[in-house]
Symmetry: C2
Subunit: 507 residues, 2 copies
C-alpha cells in the first residue's frame, strides 16, 4: 500500500468503528423510547438487560484497543493534517473521551447501565406511591457510582466538574456558582416585584377542561408550523416528555396531556419540538462522526427554551395562533382575548413541580437541584437526607414547601437515570437562548412580524444555519462566542424576563 | 479449579454467549417491529443498516470460534452427561446450527440482512404502485442468495430441503410433495362439492361498514378472552400483520382494520393471538437457551390456525360471542342471527389475496407458492418469469386469474424478507392444528360447551401444557408423535373441512 492507500484504509477503519457505535446507540435509543412509550409492563426488566448489553458493547468499542490504535495513528501529523475538519474534530473528541472513560471498568459500566434502567422503573412506581424508601437503595448506588466515576474521570477543582463536563464541555462549579448566583438574584428580584404588584392575571382558563384528543391536534399543528419534520419524526405520549434522535431522519418527541392544564402538553410539545429540530438538522455529512451531535446539552436546551418561551409565550406568537386555537376548542371556550391568553400563559406562581413551573421560577428549580447535586457528589450530604433537604431548600429558594415526596424529591426521573450534572444545562439553555435571540433579531429584523404571521421559516432557518448545522464542530462556549461575540452572559435573559413581566404584572 | 468448578465455568461461558445473542436478537426484533408500526418514513433506510449490523453480530457470535470451542467442550462426555436436558438439547441444536451456518461468509450474511430489510421497503412501494419491475432486481438478488445458501448449508435430495429445514426441521420436498398432493386433492374435491351446491350463503354482512375504532375494541376483547396477556404484550396496526416475541414477557401482535371487511382484523387478530400465546408461554426456564423457542414454524402456525379457524370460525364460539358483537356494533347492525354469521365467516370463494382467503382455499394459495419456490431454488424458473407463472398457476390451482401484480405476485412480503421455505409451514400449521384438536377433544371433553360459554381457560391450558411448555425440547415431528401418537397426517384436517362445509353448503 502507498501512503495514500494506507491513509484511506486507516480512515475506513475509523469510520467503520464509528458507524458500528452509532448503530448500537441507535438501537439502545430505540429501546429507551420503546420503554417510555409502548413496551408492555412485564417485559421491561428483561429489556433492561438487553439495553445494558448493547450500551456496554458501544461503550467498549469507544474505549477499545482497536479504537485507541486507530486514534493514535490518526493523530500523527502525516494523517491528521490531511483529514477534513470534521474528522480532525472527531478524532480530538474521541481521544479526550477515550483517555477519560477507559478508566471505567467495563463490568462496572454495564452494572450501572442496568441499574439505572431498572431504577427508572422503580422510580416510576415509587413516585406513583409516594414511596421514597423503595427508591432510596437505588439512588444510593447511583450516587456512589457517580462519585466513583468523578474520581476515575478526573477533574480540577470540584469533583462535580467531572460530571458537568460530560454534558457541557468545560463547565465548572466555579463558573456556575457565579452564573447561577447572578441568575438567582435577578430572578428573585423580579419575583419580589411581581409579588408586590397589585395586578392579578385572569385565571379563568384554569377552570376549563380541554380534551386530550383536541390538545393532540393542537400539538401536532404547532409542531408542523414551527418546522418539525414528521417525515423524520413522530409525536407520542410518555410520563416524562423527551426527545430522542435515533438518527438524523428519525427524531422522536413525546408529550403528556393534562386535560385540566393544557399548558403542559402545548408548551411541552413546543419545547421538545425545539430539541427535535436541532437533531433533525445536524448535517448528514456529520452523521457517524463524533461531532455529529449538538454542541452541548445546554445548547440543546437553548433551542427548546427558545421555541417554548421566547416564541411560544410571546404575544406576537399568540396573535397568530389564537384564531386556530379558538377554532379547535370552540366547544370548550367560547370567548378568549389575546390579552387574557398572554396573561394566562405568563402567570408567575411559585410551584412544586419543575416541569409545570412558570418561565420565571423554572430556573430556581434548577438551581435547587444544582446545589443539592454538587454537595451529594462532594459527599457533604447523603441520599437518605434528600427529602428533608429538598423541602428545606424549596422553602428557602422558592418560598413554598412540598406536602409529600411525590411533589418533592421524587418528581424527576433524572437521578434514577444517573444523570448527575445534567440539570444545570436546563438553566444554561435559558441563558443561551436569549443570547441567541439578541443575535437573531439583528439578522431577522422582522422577528415579531414573522411570529404574528406564523411564518417560522426564516427564524428556524437562522437557527439551522447558526447552530444546528455546526453540529459539535464547536463547543457551546466557542459557538456562543462565534455567534454573539460574547461569552456566557445572563444579562439578556434577565432583561427579557424583566421586560416581559413588567408588562404583564405592571410593576 | 476442580472438575465441578471447571464444568460450571464452561456452562457460564455458554449461557453468557446465549444471553448476549438473545439480547441482540431482541433488539433486532424491536427494530423490525418499529419499522412495521411506528418508525417515521425517512429514517427507515438508515435503520436497515443498524439492523444489519446487529443481526450480523448475533449471527457472528452463533458461529464464532468462541462458540465452537464451548460447544466442543460441552459435548464431551464428562460435561454433556451432567447437563440438564434443556442444555443438552440446546448444545445439540447449536452444534447443528454452527456446522451448517459457519459456511456462510459473514460479509455475505450482513449484505443479505441489509438487502432484505431494504427490499421490504421497496416491496411496500412496489405493491402500492403495482410495479413489479422496481422490485425485480431485489428479488433476483434474494433468490440468488437463497440458492447459494442452499448449497452452502447442504442438503440431501432437493436443494429446497436446505431452506425448509431452517423453519421445519427434517421437512423435505419429498414429504411435502406427498402431503400437499393429498391436501390439494382433498380440498379441490370439497371445493367442487361446494361449487356444485345450490346453497348460497347470506352475504348481507359484506355491505356493512364497521368503524375501525369499534373493530379494535372487538379485537382486544377477543384477545383477552382467549388468554393473550396484555401485561406481556400489545396490539398494534401494520400493513402485514405479524407476531413478534422479543422476550417471553414482551410478545407483540399486529393487525389491520378494513372497515368494509371486518373478517380481516377479527380473524387476523385471533390468528396472531394464537402465535402470541405460544410465545408468551414458552417457559422462562428455557429463556436464553437455544430450545426456548417454538418447536417449528409449522407448529407455531398450528396455534394461530387453531384459534383462528377451529375456534374462531366455529358455531359454538359465535354462540358465545354474538351478543357482545351485537352490542359493540349496535349502531351498524340491528339484527344478525347466529346462522347468518356462521355462514358469512365460512363463505368459500376462490379469491386472489392469500391473507383474505377463506379457510378452505387458503392452503391452495400456499401450495401455489410452494410449487413456485422449489422450482426457483432449483433454478428451473427465474424471478422475472414469476408474474406470468403466478397468474397461470392461480388459474390452474384456484381457478381464477389476477388482474394485476398487486393482487398477484406482489401481494406477500415474504420473498422481500428472504423467507424462502417459510410458506409451506402455513399449510402444515392447518394440518397440525387438527391433529392437535383431535387429541385435545379427548382430554377436554366439553370442548364445544367451553366455546359456547367463552371459557377458553381449559383449552388454552391444554395447549400450554402439551405444546408451549415444551419449547423446542422436541422437534415438531417428535412433538406431534408424542401428543397424538401419529406422524404428520392430513386426514383430520380434511375430515374437519368436509364436516364443516357439508353443513354450511348442504352438499
Amino acid at each position: 500500500m502507498n501512503p495514500q492507500e494506507k491513509h484511506q484504509e486507516l480512515l475506513n477503519r475509523y469510520t467503520g468503528i464509528l458507524g458500528k457505535i452509532q448503530h448500537y446507540r441507535e438501537m439502545a435509543g430505540l429501546a429507551h423510547w420503546d420503554m417510555a412509550t409502548y413496551a408492555p409492563k412485564a417485559g421491561k426488566s428483561i429489556r433492561s438487560d438487553a439495553l445494558g448489553t448493547l450500551s456496554t458493547e458501544a461503550f467498549k468499542m469507544s474505549v477499545s484497543t482497536e479504537m485507541q490504535s486507530i486514534l493514535t495513528e490518526l493523530s500523527k501529523e502525516e494523517h491528521f493534517n490531511q483529514l477534513p475538519e470534521k474528522y480532525q474534530k472527531s478524532v480530538e473528541k474521541d481521544i479526550k473521551h477515550l483517555e477519560k472513560f477507559q478508566k471505567i471498568p467495563e463490568d462496572r459500566y454495564r452494572e450501572y447501565v442496568i441499574l439505572t434502567s431498572k431504577a427508572q422503573n422503580v422510580w416510576e412506581k415509587a413516585k406513583e406511591e409516594n414511596d421514597f424508601e423503595t427508591f432510596l437503595p437505588y439512588l444510593e448506588k447511583i450516587v456512589d457510582f457517580n462519585r466513583e466515576m468523578a474520581e476515575l474521570l478526573g477533574y480540577e477543582g470540584h469533583p462535580y466538574n467531572a460530571l458537568l463536563d460530560r454534558f457541557e464541555e468545560g463547565m465548572t462549579v466555579e463558573k456556575l456558582d457565579s452564573t447561577f448566583g447572578e441568575l438567582k438574584e435577578g430572578i428573585q428580584t423580579i419575583l419580589t416585584n411581581i409579588q408586590g404588584s397589585s395586578k392579578t392575571p385572569n385565571k379563568r382558563l384554569e377552570s376549563i377542561n380541554l380534551p386530550a384528543e383536541k390538545q393532540k391536534i393542537l400539538s401536532e399543528k404547532v409542531l408542523r408550523k414551527i418546522g418539525y419534520d414528521f417525515e423524520s419524526g413522530r409525536l407520542d405520549e410518555s410520563v416524562h416528555p423527551f426527545t430522542i434522535g435515533l438518527n438524523p431522519k428519525d427524531v422522536r418527541v413525546t408529550t403528556r396531556y393534562q386535560e385540566d392544564f393544557f399548558k403542559t402538553a402545548l408548551f411541552g410539545t413546543i419545547h421538545e419540538g425545539g430539541h427535535g429540530m436541532y437533531e433533525q438538522n445536524i448535517p448528514m455529512e456529520l452523521f457517524k462522526t463524533s461531532v455529529g451531535t449538538a454542541a452541548s446539552t445546554g445548547m440543546h436546551e437553548s433551542q427548546s427554551r427558545f421555541w417554548e418561551n421566547v416564541v411560544g409565550r410571546s404575544e406576537a406568537f399568540w396573535k397568530g395562533l389564537l384564531p386556530e386555537f379558538r377554532e379547535i376548542f370552540k366547544e370548550e371556550i367560547t370567548d378568549i382575548t389575546l390579552e387574557e391568553m398572554v396573561e394566562y400563559i405568563n402567570i408567575v406562581e411559585p410551584s412544586m413541580i419543575r416541569v409545570e413551573a412558570d418561565e420565571l421560577t423554572y430556573s430556581l428549580h434548577i438551581i435547587l437541584r444544582y446545589e443539592l447535586e454538587k454537595e451529594l457528589i462532594q459527599g457533604n450530604i447523603a441520599a437518605k437526607d434528600l427529602p428533608q433537604l429538598w423541602n428545606q431548600k424549596m422553602a428557602e429558594i422558592i418560598g413554598i414547601k412540598p406536602k409529600d415526596n411525590r411533589e418533592g424529591v421524587l418528581q424527576d426521573v433524572h437521578w434514577a437515570g444517573g444523570m448527575f450534572g445534567y440539570f444545570p444545562t436546563y438553566a444554561l439553555g435559558n441563558v443561551y437562548a436569549l443570547q441567541l435571540t439578541e443575535a437573531l433579531k439583528k439578522d431577522v429584523t422582522n422577528f415579531t412580524a414573522h411570529m404574528e404571521n406564523q411564518e417560522f421559516g426564516p427564524i428556524k432557518q437562522w437557527m439551522v444555519e447558526k447552530v444546528h448545522q455546526r453540529g459539535n464542530l464547536r463547543t457551546a462556549e466557542e459557538l456562543i462566542k462565534e455567534i454573539t461575540g460574547d461569552g456566557l452572559n445572563v444579562k439578556p435573559y434577565l432583561t427579557y424576563l424583566d421586560d416581559k413581566y413588567r408588562k404583564v404584572y405592571e410593576y
